[in-house]
């Protein structure tokens, strides 16, 4: 079953078209990796999936019973966060807003969701620490925890491993792979081609009018991949 279907969509960023006439779908339980050069519209595409921007043309259709509230989103880290006074627990809890339809405060059940996720991602020891005091890898784990706190069905991750050391990168991909094995649907932007090929069931390579969409095996056999692999070796 397809959770999301994008049909012939065109997307713009800063009044510039970055994605043109793109069609693809996200199957329930799959791991989709989105690759492509800088400026190819990867982040813009994720923003469209979580409803932050509307396609200029084409349609994005969600499966029946599946809504934006079922998507946990991990945007790129921002500069403001680097010296922000917030405890790890506060950041993780802020994911709960995505589950709320109304009301102003978090109930006991909601707080338990946040505690469970922090336990799972081994953040309990950091709970009272300040976000700005954490290493890059820890910060990213906290933001992943926030995404997991906000939804159970699907994760949308924007370059989760950017700027992390190899160990932290491996740890983060391991958590993502585990959530995938547990049945979560993943859509992840990465510029780490090896990680994409190792983790993805399906790959979307954005390249304005000759984008590729297919299984990882098909991608490895594609001209686009051979062109890139040839270019880097």
């Amino acid at each position: 079953m397809n959770l999301i279907e994008c049909n012939d969509i065109t997307l713009s960023y800063d009044h510039r078209q970055v994605v043109g006439h793109l069609s693809f779908s996200v199957e329930k339980g799959s791991c989709l990796c989105i690759v492509g050069e800088n400026g190819s519209g990867k982040s813009t595409l994720l923003k469209a999936l979580v409803g932050l921007i509307k396609p200029e043309q084409g349609t994005i259709t969600f499966a029946k019973g599946f809504t934006r509230k079922d998507i946990g989103y991990l945007p790129q880290r921002t500069e403001v966060q680097q010296d922000f006074p917030a405890s790890v627990e506060e950041v993780v809890r802020s994911g709960l807003l995505n589950r709320k339809k109304k009301g102003f405060f978090f109930g006991r059940q909601e707080k338990e969701i946040a505690l469970r996720v922090m336990d799972e991602l081994e953040l309990n020891d950091l709970a009272g620490l300040c976000f700005r005091e954490l290493s890059g890898g820890q910060q990213q784990r906290v933001l992943l925890a926030r995404a997991l706190t906000s939804a159970d069905e699907m994760l949308v991750l924007d370059e989760p491993a950017t700027g992390l050391d190899p160990l932290a990168t491996a740890e983060l991909y391991e958590i993502i792979a585990r959530k995938h094995r547990e049945g979560m649907t993943i859509a992840m932007v990465t510029h780490d081609m090896e990680a994409a090929i190792a983790n993805a069931d399906v790959i979307l390579h954005l390249d304005y009018d000759r984008s590729f969409f297919g299984t990882t095996a098909q991608y490895l056999a594609s001209d686009l991949y051979r062109h890139i692999a040839g270019g880097t070796r």
Partner: protein
């Protein structure tokens, strides 16, 4: 120089002093709460820009011959419009935020000064709106009413929207994806900041009101590791600094605004020192 006890023993003077304490304390509280999100979002200078716009508006109201008691009503809509304009410019990125604020605030300032000069020179009025009333005697019952309404509104909204404000301040993109409308929330913050600036300007003066917004948040950020801690500490620090500054001003016969700013500065330096150790 009279002692505080002597001042308070006169019912007329003590009425004025209590009113000043109430108005200033409430405005300090609002300014601190709004200041936390403004400072964290890098909008700190908006308060400063808005107060200069307020100065221009007050000058304009003097030119139009409006009495002092209607200055607030006249300035408020102008400052509110300016706040939306500043936010729009900052968010849309047409001009860089700090540059946009500098353009608007120095223009408003220049127009204000020109108006005062054309209108018979820099009078005591002009001085008051720039540097704050020399005494708190100019605060009226209406100021007390408005500042009470304002602070109740700010505190209730802040409590109800606390989690949303945190999310939108920490990560506006994530917050928007969770359905927290950034634009609406920013408009509310801008409106409340405008009211705070206009009400506070009378006592603190146009060039110093932004200290009430910026200092307590900075002080609290040096002492606390959580957002909740920063919010509560900023509110507490702001209130204490105001009361201390106000009492010093009364006893020493100095203007209120500068005294409050200096006490806030001392608190900020002390917090920085404690943070360093």
């Amino acid at each position: 120089m009279m002692g505080l006890r002597q001042l308070l023993s006169d019912p007329y003077i003590s009425g004025i002093i209590w009113r000043g304490l109430a108005v200033g304390g409430l405005v300090s509280l609002c300014a601190a709460l709004l200041g936390v999100t403004l400072v964290l979002k890098r909008f700190a200078m908006i308060g400063d820009g808005l107060s200069h716009v307020g100065f221009g508006a007050v000058a304009l109201s003097a030119l139009l011959g409006l009495g002092g008691e209607f200055q607030m009503e006249f300035a408020l809509p102008i400052v509110t419009v300016a706040s939306f304009l500043l936010l729009h410019l900052t968010v849309k990125g047409k001009l860089k935020g700090d540059a946009a604020i500098a353009v608007i605030s120095s223009s408003a300032m220049a127009v204000g000064v020109i108006i005062y000069h054309a209108n018979g020179g820099m009078t005591a009025d002009a001085c008051n709106s720039l540097f704050g009333s020399a005494s708190v005697i100019t605060l009226s019952q209406k100021d007390l009413l408005i500042s009470t309404l304002l602070s109740v509104t700010v505190m209730v909204l802040f409590m109800l929207l606390y989690h949303r404000i945190f999310s939108a301040t920490f990560d506006p993109v994530f917050a928007a994806a969770s359905g927290v409308a950034g634009a609406g929330y920013q408009a509310v913050i801008a409106l409340l900041t405008s009211v705070t600036v206009v009400v506070g300007m009378k006592m603190m003066g146009a060039v110093m009101i932004s200290a009430l917004i910026i200092f307590p948040a900075l002080t609290a950020m040096r002492l606390c590791k959580s957002f909740k801690g920063v919010v509560l500490t900023a509110a507490g620090v702001s209130l204490v600094c105001f009361v201390v500054g106000f009492i010093v001003a009364c006893v020493a016969g100095l203007p209120t605004g500068p005294c409050v700013v200096v006490v806030n500065l001392v608190a900020l330096l002390a917090a920085s020192f404690m943070n360093k150790r």
